[in-house]
Point group: C3
Chain length 344, copies 3
């Protein structure tokens, strides 16, 4: 039975904890497992651009003796068709049914990035591209950010919170919406909140009223949170929310009510240009010491000001570094089954 | 003396058989040669896009300790000039004379994909880009699909036929033309038919009258076939041809009489939209059991229907997987000289 | 203290000599150091295209057990912002402040190519993109060609001169401007002249009067040359300069007085179309034996004629090959500290 990693909840909570513990040991050099991925290959399919994901997975594979192959459909390889049953007489050249099956024959695991196409949320919210890809592929499929989830980012977020805060249960995690010149997907905020919920944190999501996340995301967070002994709350008053925050996760996303209508969405978004995180606002957090998180790339002085990003509370570079370590742990877990048994 | 692999006929028939035998042992794990390509490098030059070729060669090199470098002239590297004696004051930035020579100094072998440009068949049929590249380069050059040949695909086709049919001599291989929204090159059908001819099969090529392959291709097939004890035949009645088929290879290609005139070619092609392979047609083959082959990417429900591709006769994924194994064997043969001596 | 390699003068002259000596031993196989870069990674950031640089660094890393990750901002990864303090509400998606810091967490070294943007020489001549990148990054940063310098090319040029001429001090190196359909950067000519100056050569730069290099480049050459016992001279009569040349380095560059105004620059350049190096002109060099150098890619029959490039005096392929060997030495020097102590 092959294991996929499409969502953090695909793994049992204890399995996630083991992954995080292994990641931390790898990061600290307490464990090195230099040949755990010897001659293993990961095929990475980027339907959308990447810096961190690509670089960190390539380095992760190499550090343990493996190799990542990078494919970019529509650029260096053929444009993919993702719909079932379609008559392919248009511009798409290869169906993911073939691509997924073939790559599963070449590589030991396949990783896929497929952002939403931005047409119809009622359909795209099913996250079918990544799910179909996984169902076609005979090897473990790893989600590098789909329409709904970015679980590798979620793992890195969780590791960062554990590293910076130590004991996480009951501590306040504020996910705050930010302005951005474009309507961005919701996969990262949903995954970050799920990560904090997994850690039993008091999750507060602050956003303008029009920017609610999908109800299924909220339900998933509530379920994970309940099991882990935390809570989830939505507020529209960002400044109040920051008061007792110990971690502030800044992220922009588009209004789902206007999904597929960017001009309308821009009108909804326009009044909230002041939702930019600044050093001054970070001073309002608990003991003026909350860590500042962001998945990167970040629009400087739009989402977060220079002084906040370059200031002492910023954890964004550590958080990006943690992508490397959680992915080392993930690949070792999936491909060599040597994930450690100790808890963090 | 360096060895190139531009066409299956560059190798003696016994050498091809040894390659196929090694590929099969590698596939079955009977031989692993984990360090046969230790620290060897293959420079891959893609003047045109790729999924299978790129991924399978990268994995092939890594599996034996080597590494493939991927270059894409005109995108990530400089646009190539291929004509001799030209005054380069236009848009091309680097001549293949330099590129081929330099890459031959960096890598242990160089692989090149260069599709036809679609201007003038009388000139392009000479396949000069790949041949010039090989003549300039001091290291083995491997054809990743040129105007006239795709010999790595041919090797994979041959391995698939041997695996699926066992004894191949005298058994019926039907290469059937298919409709496609674009005029495609003839390298794959020529190489597939050559592969079947090499195996001594009874090769039947079914296509509408306007879609004859180049006479030189037909002559090459006839010569290979005669040596191997098989036969080659062209028919225009697809359904009759399928009757006793044991392997059905579906492939589209453009009419060479209209090469360089796509609008005219589209008019020629239009009446043959019904040349789509279906599950029902596959039932008309010998004992309703012929294997279905295609080089991929395939236009679903245009070249081949969903039910045929996803049905029990489909061998297209195995065929794609075999790219990996024949290329492992090829690289080991070219770079380490350890190709096994046993015949299949 | 991390070491960057942004300019040849970042290293002490003796250190450059050691690098060149190691490169030569590696090239000749007198030293192999097969595991000197075992499991080390180099992240390469190409803001502009590359063939030689990319291929030679990938091969260099692999030959010693390491791996190079290739990133292409604006294509496969996010478009970079390079200005400080900017409000990023336009088309750039990630600031190099984040990119440089993050890549320095993933890889053991980071290499960057960033050509001039072609707007304002008074500003761009500060070479701030590469310098900022290095200041943000916690790991060694290697210049793969910035606005002002291409030091890896300079190292390869120096190695080629040593190999071909043996003793270099006092021997005549002529850098001659060439016509080209576009205004090219000055990083290569400046770096080549610096390399020859480092070797104590009699450096002669021949160019039409309008094509002076930046005064700072001239000052740097003069300083390096004085220390090494050579000389630097500018002339406008190419044919006279060739008389006693033992090495002829052909290179085109744009007129800095028209930087950012390509139409004006083209007018300045137009009268000099005859500045193309030919076999006949090479015959005018010392004993008709001067070696012909060029960094590649070269516009055949525009910068250099076919007969010169393909003739016996051409060293351009050896020069390109030397990129590989100097970069092997450079990476080993930066990442494993095992650069040999012997002088050449």
């Amino acid at each position: 039975m092959k294991r996929d990693f499409l969502d953090m909840t695909d793994f049992a909570p204890s399995e996630v904890d083991e992954l995080l513990a292994l990641a931390l040991r790898l990061k600290r050099g307490e464990e090195s497992l230099p040949d755990a991925l010897h001659r293993k290959t990961l095929a990475m399919v980027f339907m959308d651009p990447s810096l961190r994901t690509r670089a960190s997975f390539e380095v992760a594979m190499h550090k343990h003796g493996g190799h990542a192959v990078v494919l970019e459909p529509g650029r260096s390889s053929w444009a993919f068709e993702t719909e079932r049953g379609v008559v392919m007489d248009g511009t798409t050249v290869e169906h993911i049914a073939e691509a997924a099956r073939v790559l599963g024959r070449y590589a030991d695991a396949v990783a896929v990035r497929a952002f939403p196409k931005g047409n119809d949320w009622s359909k795209e919210r099913q996250d079918r591209v990544i799910r179909d890809f996984a169902s076609y592929c005979g090897r473990p499929v790893i989600n590098l950010e789909s329409t709904r989830r970015h679980p590798c980012q979620g793992l890195a977020d969780a590791l960062t919170l554990k590293e910076k805060l130590g004991q996480t249960r009951g501590r306040r995690f504020v996910l705050t919406w930010a302005y951005h010149p474009k309507a961005l997907p919701t996969a990262v905020p949903a995954s970050a909140a799920l990560a904090a919920a997994h850690l039993g944190m008091e999750v507060v999501i602050a956003h303008p009223p029009e920017f609610a996340l999908d109800p299924d995301d909220m339900a998933a967070m509530t379920e994970v949170s309940a099991r882990a002994g935390g809570s989830v709350q939505v507020v529209h008053d960002r400044d109040a929310a920051l008061g007792s925050a110990e971690a502030v996760y800044v992220k922009s996303w588009g209004a789902l009510s206007c999904f597929g209508r960017p001009a309308d969405e821009a009108v909804l978004r326009a009044p909230y240009r002041s939702w930019c995180m600044t050093g001054e606002r970070l001073q309002q957090t608990q003991d003026a010491r909350a860590i500042l998180m962001h998945c990167l790339p970040v629009r400087r002085n739009v989402e977060i000001s220079d002084d906040a990003l370059d200031g002492p509370q910023s954890a964004v570079i550590d958080q990006a570094e943690n992508r490397l370590h959680v992915q080392r742990a993930l690949m070792i877990h999936l491909l060599s089954g040597t994930a450690g048994k100790e808890s963090l």
